[in-house]
Symmetry: D2
Subunit: 350 residues, 4 copies
């Protein structure tokens, strides 16, 4: 019963297998092989426009280099106050962008509140050098809280960013899960609603290591080749990432895997709703569930080897809602989660 | 006929295959899985002492983070003037270590000249703040010129570094090739001769992506976990690197692959020595050959689809030795190079 | 009527004059002259212990280099959410310390709330690499809100920092004003209560340019000479700073100037308390006054050439307290503020 | 007898005095006062065009921020191998420009050899990401060796820079000395010959602390306000720098002071030429003299309290020319050097 994180799952067999079939033979390095080029074209197809794609090694790298590419001296990046870039990347987004400052913006359900965003950007007025200058807005889809921005919500954030002349980045570590949950196209969830740069994550959804930065406007990516190399993120045998992406996209495998993970989360959500020992902490979509669970049930589950994390970032409004004998926990499903494991979890939960 | 670089070869089937067998199941992420721990133990065995091991994504990352771990304000890194860290990493070693300055040291055959090194370090005297402070010496084994430091030469460099109280790093992008060519043990080629930190490269020798930083003294690695995360180099599914290393080390595969690559280079060297249209530019060991080749022969080879690079960093002493109708080229063999391809190359060379 | 900032005042005549008397003759550069050494000794006397002193060019530099000196990879600096280092230094504290992340901590009256600080530090637990590692706590005395930490409050913050094994820095841009207002000694307000590093500002209190970093434990300053030089903060003719400090400290001039500025602020406070067109926004000590002022009175004052800033960082609890026809303004007095100017301001205010 | 460095001299009385007369009264801070604006206009007049001027605290800051303003990821800065930016700034130019790599270029007499420069830039070809990308060329006028680029030499370097589409920076720590020695106008020595950005130093020539970055094309300076603030180089009371510049430029004082320093160097040169115990190491102009001096004479001088530095960066071609009982020394004259002191030095030299 593995619900600790979707990165505990290994790779999907089709994706791992592709590394075997691609292993033979020589091919030019550093992103120039035929397979690299073929996969770049697939990205164009998926996004319904010519995009610029750069493979990197981690989601943190994707976010950090994407933001670095729009860097400015004294730059300020606006993100949700529970965003991965702010809380969980050990300062990497600042490190790669000449110490850009991250300005945390509040907002319910893990989503940036537009009014707070507007206020936050206005606190860095163009003529007041001391505060720095606005540099980018970044949203996470699906969010750290397992929720989703609707297309309209993305559009609203994009409008604010555009009105201040700064780009909008999306951290898509769980891009496919969001896409499937919203049942929209990649284009609709990104550039058609104002996303300029996307961290496209595939590792959590069935790859070993496949992360890409996608620029909706290739013009804006001109410095990225140098940024990536200087950042030690240019793989020599890029084929091994391209091969994973090839298998990932083939016959819609990626959406299938994400849909499965989401369905397993739905199953969890249903089980929790019916439980007397747990309740949803808030409504989530996609493949994460946050639940308030009785400590005795939690102990029972852990004794049965269930893997999941207690969640320590407790939203203000829940401080009083969680009783002393309860704990907020996070449960994440993955492409490899089996329905029987979910059912067993729910059964033990009681 | 692929002699452009050893990173044009894919992965060895046994290594690629291991990713298939490891793909199933869940395991904890970020370097904490049983397989990660097992491979760390293998490193201890190989180096005959307890070492600290950190997987990263690229050789540039290994070098840069290794050097960053011994960073000091105003730090100066001493390296050969043709070193990869100086010429081919887009400034990454400086970028990751608060802009440490690289001081290029001359030396024949791609190897740091000890007298020049001593002079170079003395040019940064402790009491003269303006020059900065000595921070590290780094050597490459085998070198960018395809040559090897003897154990005595390593020891001499190490003595100089130690006398100035700075650590000695080894860029081992082709560590196995050097080891095999010298026929010594990993311990002998490193800590027994004064190497403190090693960039252990396996990608060029048959892996997809397997690079590690090895600290001979684990105490000195205390900040590395944070450096690695801040540098966006902490893979989530580290298992995929560990699995490659596991297969790489199993039954001495790594040494076998390196020995093969070296043997193919020997075969090339012999063919060139016997050719009327080419001659060795200098003596190399391991798996790289530098040859001065007649332009018509070069054209003939390229017309036959041979892949190799003209080499533009021409050592001073060869400026006059290369005739107008000749070119300096680099030929690299790999674990996957076949003898028949070498023979065909030599045959076309004439 | 100049109440915009204490840095609008020039230099005190005695301090400016000292630059004339020191101008003659040659002396060794880069902090090694007899005058530099003499002033360093004066710092020892003032702080009643041997301290390490480093002159830098700006308060931002003092804060940034002080924090950089305790830098760690992935470091997190805890500061008040209205702190100068967070809001007004264009990201410099992060820039100089390898992109340390600033974690803003809430607290009434511009002062870090100890409970929130403890919670904030605990959110960066030692074993959770992703969040980084706690690096320093920094307080401002007097605060950006014109308030003062009591000695007990400093001690409490220091205890929290110490319990997490991180140093405590004080931004003393208005150190003398705080000292005078509290009527305590420099030792009492710093190391006796747990301050490890101090940004000692004299520019705002009558110098042209005299800022110093003071390490209470000289051992901790070992890297500072290199940090300062690499940061382009090592003046050649350091004498010109030393001379200002010499005059500043002579016969207690510095405390006299600060006491005058504070007295002028008291006079303002009294006038505002008696006014029908303004009221104190909150209680301040030292030389800053925050007032809620009627817009017509504000216009009247500006028409009469009074200089002061509207204050846009409105504390949450005041959002409703300020009527539409009112504005929050900041008034700062300086060593050069004349009582007659204060009286005129109050008279026009009505 | 002070010949250690021109920064051992204090400030010229007229310049120091101006700080006294400017000390009174309030004025707006951060470069916005009437005096700041007036001095900016003076720079326009001096350079015969509209320039953008930014005061900073040190020459190292001027160089570093000027170079940072043209920063690129993986940027490579080309400088002479004895340049101050390379040898004497503790890595600051790299630190402020995201770790730009400095590529040292050889050249006689402290001047970049154009052929070597062209070769050096070509070693960083646009399509080869691994090497980084050319970012700037920087020359020093007068050079670290006390020599001067002729206008034609500057123009030739500028042509090379332009042909590679990178800007040309001049380190003018001794700008006035060079100007006076060449007897040309500021415009002629800079933008009319292709200089894009200038570090304009006045500290060594009679100010306490007056350094400016001058952009010949103000358009290129758009990010500098943020760079300067993030770099902790924005003085609050900029008036104190402006006042020094005002006095410096008034009635041509700056050229007068430089001419005096140069004349004192001429006097030294003549004395050394006539000496039996010393000889010129190479021909210098401006205010620096490099001499090979007999050790007994050197001892005699030091016993008589003469201040000067032995020079350890001995050009290759002099290695054999300096006898065991001789030493290479550097002698620097300043605005405050008196003829009688030079004469005494020569007399003791014998």
């Amino acid at each position: 019963m593995f619900f600790a994180s979707d990165n505990w799952a290994g790779a999907h067999p089709k994706i791992a297998h592709r590394l075997t079939t691609e292993a033979g033979g020589f091919a030019s390095a550093y992103g120039t092989s035929a397979l690299d080029k073929k996969v770049e074209q697939t990205f164009n197809d998926i996004f319904e426009r010519e995009v610029a794609v750069f493979f990197v090694s981690t989601g943190t790298a994707a976010n950090s280099l994407a933001l670095a590419s729009v860097g400015k001296p004294g730059g300020v990046i606006f993100c949700h106050d529970s965003a991965h870039v702010f809380c969980d990347e050990c300062g990497a987004p600042g490190f790669f962008s000449s110490a850009a400052r991250l300005s945390p913006i509040a907002g319910k359900d893990g989503k940036i509140d537009p009014v707070s965003l507007e206020r936050g950007i206005r606190a860095v007025p163009p003529a007041f050098i001391h505060a720095g200058q606005p540099m980018a807005v970044t949203v996470t889809q699906s969010t750290e809280s397992g929720t989703l921005y609707s297309l309209e919500e993305i559009e609203r954030i994009a409008g604010i960013a555009r009105s201040h002349d700064i780009p909008l980045h999306m951290d898509g570590a769980r891009f496919a899960n969001a896409l499937t949950a919203l049942d929209v196209s990649p284009a609709e969830m990104t550039w058609k609603r104002g996303i300029d740069i996307l961290s496209f994550g595939a590792t959590k959804n069935g790859c070993w290591c496949a992360e890409a930065i996608v620029f909706m406007n290739p013009e804006q990516a001109r410095q990225l080749p140098f940024i990536r190399k200087q950042s030690a993120q240019l793989f020599s045998k890029t084929r091994f990432v391209a091969a994973q992406f090839e298998a990932y996209f083939e016959d819609g495998l990626w959406l299938e895997l994400a849909a499965h993970a989401n369905a397993m989360a739905d199953r969890l959500r249903a089980g929790i709703a019916a439980s007397n020992h747990a309740r949803a902490a808030w409504h989530t979509s996609a493949n994460e569930v946050f639940a308030i669970i009785r400590n005795d049930a939690s102990k029972r589950l852990r004794d049965a080897n269930a893997q999941f994390y207690d969640w320590h970032e407790i939203p203000e409004h829940l401080h009083e809602a969680i009783a002393p004998d309860e704990t907020l926990v996070r449960l994440v499903t993955a492409f490899a989660t089996e329905a029987s494991e979910v059912d067993r979890f729910i059964e033990i939960l009681g």
